[in-house]
Subunit: 332 residues, 2 copies
DNA sequence: GTCAATTTTGAAATCGATTGCAAAGACTGG
DNA sequence: CCAGTCTTTGCAATCGATTTCAAAATTGAC
């Protein structure tokens, strides 16, 4: 005799209901192949015994898991960790959009995702598709991945040679908006603040440069953190050179770092110096003074990323999208 | 003849290596049952063909998934969504601690987790254990869950009648520290700011009350958001009653909301009014002015939560832990 | 009352791995 | 040279569901 410890299996429910396993399976899926009466009886018995299908067995047989991997990779963040509020915001919105579609989210660090290569992520982690947050060094890998059957979408910078579906805000437009603002404020000594090698930020940088049209200072920071920006700015202000009268930071967190440094050195914002961030992360509006910034709509981003990924999973290749951005003028 | 589309299976590798499936399986697990020579050959072939084991099949057979569900439930957050930087911080640290142990993270909203009841979450989502972030209304449910075989740990408030493993910072100590600070600053008109029904915040509140020892004002807010606190505080300041000279907010986000309101009404901080938050979330130190607050060590919290959960999965019931807290004095 | 059409049901194969057990092969000692 | 031990290997069962296909039950038409 076999002791039936552990959770009930479908066989048990079948026996209790006096039917066979396939009938139970169909009933639980609300299949039209089962008569309403039988269905109701089976569902009631399943409910009473607290039966739920074993997700792993179901996944195996169905060859589908209704689970999406979200791979987070920000080499420009300190410790390579997820810390920037903007990214959290994005992650939250993606999670919500997936939940609406009954999809679960598997959170992967880039490291664990990358061992073995992205193309094996599906069977390796048992997911149906992938959302990459941050495209940084992986552009070529994504191009390669696009030639496989792996459904994926990327949050990152738009590029003409992206053969994969990438979503990102209109960074060139963002850069231009900031240049226009500084121009209309009659600023003379502009500065761009950001790390090297971050594709999206470089797009903002380049477009700002083009639109600004004349010389400006470039202050490089090692990563996207508040501290790195503050320290770099402090060092710069102490260098003896005339202070900038307009700072465009590649993200809100960096803008806040720069602001802290300016304040420490007694430079008045916005009187002596304008500061503009990027992202419109939640902290931008709560900051004092409230931050002037370029808005990225993470809610829309999350929704579209998910929508496109679902399309890709269905087999329809999805096109890239460029999200609109606005300048949000606040107190800096 | 059968076309071999899709990813390779273990059988294919076995055939290519001229061995049987079990041998391949053992080789991939680095089992001592396989000779070194054979092992090396198999691994090489597997690598060359980009083979990775199918996670779902493996999960099913092993009855183990190396995946942990993190269930997020904060009814006190606006939209019931994950928005507070403190919780993000905690989530990030948990994810890291799990990654070290080669565990994956399945992110669940409380809603999707709760349909069907927590006790079926394991088979329903195919995970080995659960970390609950936020204990809010579920204390009794957790007590029930503790009587089942489901391994789980909770981030929340310590309680004497918690028969499950709950981790949380020492909220009573935190409340006391704030009271002591206000006392040493000779403050007279203290105020506590926070929502009702949030167990952890109520612990802070109660202990503050006991230690403070005299009357103080209580300002209730509908949720944990910046905006709710700011608006509540604005309304209070405009009521005509004398303004408080010390504010203890239940979280940093709320403290920042209160600060914004005080500033808007021209009340000088810290000259006219002291403000103390709770959490020491990353934004607290970046805020201007930098926020005085009670620190919760999310890194340690993440590490211990994970360690205890792993213990529970191994079958050792884990005891609750109370994490130490400090007062971090900054500019408010 | 018979036969075809339709609705329900169940037997058996399958998803892709892991593992218990038995057997084959290699070694050792007497 | 053979029995006994130890190392490697493979057969077959198993994990817990879904799905194909054929059989059984029901219905309807004439």
């Amino acid at each position: 005799m076999k002791k039936n410890t552990g959770p009930k299996r479908m066989d048990d429910i079948a026996r209790l209901a006096g039917v066979s396993k396939p009938t139970v399976s169909r009933a639980l899926q609300d299949s039209p192949l089962v008569s309403d009466e039988t269905k109701k009886r089976i569902l009631e018995i399943a409910r009473r015994h607290g039966y739920v299908v074993n997700r792993n067995a179901q996944n195996l047989r169905r060859r589908r898991t209704d689970t999406i991997a979200v791979v987070i990779d920000f080499p420009h963040l300190p410790d390579n960790r997820l810390t920037d509020p903007f990214h959290f915001e994005l992650l939250g919105n993606i999670t919500n959009a997936l939940a609406v579609r009954q999809q679960d989210v598997l959170l992967c660090s880039s490291q664990s995702a990358h061992s073995g290569g992205f193309e094996h992520l599906l069977s390796n982690k048992g997911v149906d598709g992938i959302i990459f947050l941050g495209q940084s060094g992986h552009h070529e890998e994504f191009r390669a991945l696009a030639r496989t059957a792996v459904p994926f979408v990327v949050w990152g910078a738009h590029r003409d040679d992206a053969t994969y579906c990438v979503l990102g805000s209109d960074n060139p437009l963002g850069g231009r908006l900031v240049a226009e603002r500084f121009r209309s404020l009659k600023r003379k000594r502009a500065m761009f603040l950001g790390p090297r090698g971050h594709i999206e930020i470089e797009q903002r940088h380049r477009s700002f440069a083009e639109s600004w049209g004349r010389a400006f200072e470039e202050l490089e920071v090692p990563d996207l953190s508040f501290v790195a920006s503050r320290d770099a700015m402090l060092e710069r202000l102490d260098s003896g050179k005339p202070a900038p009268d307009a700072v465009f930071a590649g993200s809100d967190t960096m803008a806040m770092g720069a602001l802290a440094a300016l304040r420490e050195r007694g430079i008045e914002v916005p009187a002596d110096c304008s500061v503009c961030g990027y992202d419109d992360s939640p902290s931008a509006v709560h900051h004092s003074p409230p931050l002037t910034t370029i808005r990225q709509d993470t809610r829309m981003a999350g929704a579209i990323l998910v929508e496109r990924l679902m399309q890709a999973i269905q087999g329809t290749p999805a096109a890239s999208v460029l999200l609109p951005t606005d300048l949000i003028v606040r107190a800096t």
